[in-house]
Subunit: 264 residues, 2 copies
């Protein structure tokens, strides 16, 4: 790995890193931006489902990052902090950016058929907040979920901030996006998954759930929650809350539920 020095923020070799915030909003043709050492490490690991395209690293970080940059198998551009900030459009304090290629999404039926006999899947409807999306992926990976399924109203798990909050889990755990919620349930049922919908109005208490077989955790956004059509198809469970207080955040809910489904 020989770093390629970049002295000009307008160098065409770093064009895809330019004005990162604005680009995040409009997309970047099948690429995503990874930032920070934790995520870079996942991108360079054998567990990553995503190919690295390049890295843009602050000069003073190159030596300590050398082992992970070797594993990345992609060009590494080295820039002074000033050039790096000018390219990105805001201060990149950690001095670590990388571009990756969004992977092709697996076929839903194939993905679910390949799950182990006690496989867990997290299915998400309408979660548009990148912090929550990242948290859900982090928790899914922590509890060894086989896959994450997202309906068409979910945000992109390969958005920069979602990847960062996921501590790289979004690069590892297979996912399918843009699904119709009922088609998602059809696919899960066809593959033998039991359907567990979390909702404050759930009929049973989560603590009654015991591990067993393939199971899918169905989550909706805070506020609107899951649609009646989805709820009607699932076993519905609630996490009992202390009197009068707002419900849990959806990412925290996923952690509590996955722990119960795995170890309860």
């Amino acid at each position: 790995m020989t770093p390629i020095p970049i002295h000009d923020p307008d160098d065409p070799r770093v064009a895809d890193y330019r004005q990162i915030r604005e680009r995040d909003l409009t997309g970047r043709r099948g690429l995503f931006v990874a930032e920070g050492a934790v995520v870079l490490n996942v991108l360079a690991s054998p567990q990553s489902r995503c190919r690295a395209v390049s890295a843009l690293i602050a000069e003073q970080r190159i030596e300590t990052l050398r082992p992970v940059l070797e594993r990345l198998a992609a060009p590494v551009y080295a820039a002074g902090q000033g050039v790096m900030d000018a390219v990105a459009g805001f201060p990149i304090h950690r001095g670590i950016l990388a571009l990756g290629e969004k992977p092709a999404e697996p076929d839903l039926a194939d993905l679910l058929t390949a799950a182990p006999g006690d496989g867990l899947v997290v299915a998400v409807c309408g979660v548009g907040n990148h912090d929550n999306m990242g948290g859900i992926f982090r928790n899914a990976a922590a509890f060894g979920a086989h896959a994450v399924l997202l309906d068409a109203h979910c945000c992109d798990p390969l958005y920069r901030k979602a990847i960062r909050v996921s501590v790289g889990a979004a690069l590892r755990t297979p996912f399918v996006t843009g699904l119709d919620p009922l088609a998602m349930l059809d696919g899960l049922e066809a593959a033998g998954f039991s359907l567990l919908a979390l909702s404050p109005s759930g009929e049973q208490s989560l603590s009654e759930v015991r591990p067993g077989g393939r199971a899918a955790l169905i989550l909706g956004a805070e506020g609107p929650g899951l649609s009646p059509a989805v709820m009607a198809r699932c076993r519905t469970v609630a996490i009992p809350m202390a009197g009068g207080f707002d419900s849990l955040n959806v990412a925290a809910t996923s952690a509590v539920a996955l722990h119960q489904m795995r170890f309860g």
Copy 2:
């Protein structure tokens, strides 16, 4: 409640709202800033431990907020969006700010003695991230924890962002700050609390924990974790993770553990 119109960003009556971000870093003499409708609603509720000093509301929001502003029992300043943004120093999209008075902290021994027989307390060491702090308070409130204890290395739970992430729980749940970790454990033990420390190196699995009696959940920061001196005094438990993946976020950990301690 008659709103007081503010036309000049330099009006001395809104001086405490000026340049909110910079002030957040230096403190504001025993006051805190609440933002957004959810937090305003908690501040105005009987459950709030904090007295409201005033509110600064975008003119077009006044009518829909009238019931909660009546309950606030404090002056309400109404400003155009431009004036409001100029005062705060950045765009206040939701048009809702309020100032509150930090409450006097309860005496640790008194607070713990007043806990119910099955009371839960969350004790936190070294958590300096406001998102995590807010998440811990939100989860503590959701599971009806009696109090939150913070050591001297924790960030301020009444920092604007921590309050917002807590969805106002930081204004409701009693807490004590600046504690020495071992003195905290002394106080908990003296009040009959069993001590449960969460750590990736914990000796037992969290799923073996059953509800019973007064219990304290001891949490450390991601990364450094809890000190050996603290761990040695506690029953230590771990949440088993899928092979090779990073541990859970500390706020997610608090949700999983509180659910288990309450309903496991």
